[in-house]
Amino acid sequence: MPIKAHSPKSPAIQLNGVSRDFFDGRQIRRVLHPVQLDFFPQEFTIVSGPSGSGKTTLLTIMALILKPSEGRVLVNGSDVTSISEDDKATLRLKNYGFVFQNAALIPALTVLENVLIATAVQGAPVTGELRRRAEAALDRLGMLEYSAQKADSLSGGQKQRAAIARALVNDPELILCDEPTSALDVESSTVVLQALKDLSGEPKAVVLVTHDPRVFPYADRLIQLENGKVSTDTGHSSKPKGSFDEKADS
């Protein structure tokens, strides 16, 4: 499904009245109440909340992996709620970057191959240009020297940096991060968060889900969920990058 390129002022992704119910075996339970959220390029949004607040549900709906029970998901203005599974997969491949908890690199592959697999998973050949892009992404994260190493030989912080490089290789407009620092020490967390923060300086919307309040200072926008509802949304940042400290303090 072709999705038109966004304009810097239009949202990369919109959740219009999106909610989600689950059947727990006895009754239908609403884990995400209707939300109206827009995520813009050049914005680093942190979605936070305690366990069971609905933040992972929100993320998987944004990732087009979970279908909302109600509402619509728009990517660059196009309604993608009901497109086919294959089209959703292709859309994820072309428009999304993912950084998962524990990096989720394939241990059998080298670091470079792990980055390239994000371009080749639907069978596209790896061209010289793609390889250069993958190497550039690794270089940007300081991981080029590890490109020939097997993924399972890296430290946790290195794995996450390689995962960020993988998220960047297709030059996506939306990067979704699921607790990327939960298994990292403070030093590695700082490096990873700064790398993600830097990405939001580009025309990319970066959305990070976490329950760790230590990452809040990096956010341009903070959304807090409680019991499946948005309890706090600091709104879109109109201030220069890096000014969230004041917002968080307030």
Binding site: L93, A108, A120
Partner: protein, 373 residues
Amino acid sequence: MRNSAAFKMLFHDRASALGSIAGVVAIVFLVGQQLAIFFGLIGFTSNLVDACGADIWILSKNSDNVNSSQSLPMAYRDRVAGVQGVGWVEPLVTGGGLFKTRDGNTQAVQVVGVRLPQMAGGPNRYAEGSAEALIDGEGITVDRLDLPLYGNPVRGDVFEINGKRVRIAAITKGQQGFAGSLVFTGIENAKALTGLRDDRCTSLLVKAKDGVDVPDLVRLLKHVLPRTEVFTAQSLSISTRLYYLKNTGIGTSFGFTTLIGALVGLVIIALTMYTNVLNKSRDYAMLRALGARRRDILWIVFLQSFYVAVIGILIGFTLLAGFLAGTHDTALPSYLPWTVPPVHALGTLVLCLLGSVLAMRRAVKIEPASTFR
């Protein structure tokens, strides 16, 4: 890239990958060696026909295999010799005999009497001695691999068949029969040993002249000798094999063991490929989240099954070649017609892919959402 990634993902879990390959090797080797022994044994049934050098066999009426012919008048030989297109025609005598061994026991043998100097239907490979040995009136041949049955005699040793004196004049190679060891001798001696009348033989072997259409000649001979059965050598070979297949249970026996071999391999492949997919669930879920469609995951697992099949087939056929080489010219019959290995390889490939169906079904059901938990 995706294809090489599939390969690396497969072999990252070495125990499971090697288990799958072992399954394929088991199919190739177990089934292959069973087939080789089967074809080797079944080849014994038609050994006499396959190595005779004749184009056409004439047997008594209602015969359906080379060993079932009763007797024919020797005069038929002259009638056949006069038919246009016949190059030569030779009588052959076959019959059962009891070979009295040194320790007083008896051993069932099949006596084959050939006429000199053509010696059509006679042995063509000798370990010791030569065809000239059969000129000796009481001379017989025994096969190298049957020597232990007779107490390991040497040339010149004298024995009895059906109570009549014979002398081992030559030792043959690869001349074993299914219904008993093949003992060759001159036609007159064979008649004496088997009690066949002088004016009879059990079959006539015919060689067509160069350029003559053999099936046409068969039709002509059937017309000339209506109270006989006329076969091309090839059709008699097939008919003889089919006879033993139907009447000895050899087909059922080998078919069953072959099936068991295939099933054992299939189960090993199914379990190990399934385990491999289970162990890689997180990787597949992550790939689905990145943008892999179900068919992309299916392709990866399919390719892995294909790699397992190809590697297993190569190893299995190497072992099988070793088995065939090791059993060549031994008492264990083993022979694979050239058509069997390609069919066997293709069948194994299909079995391997079938064995991976469960793994494929499991792989395509892996949900990308699990990556986010």
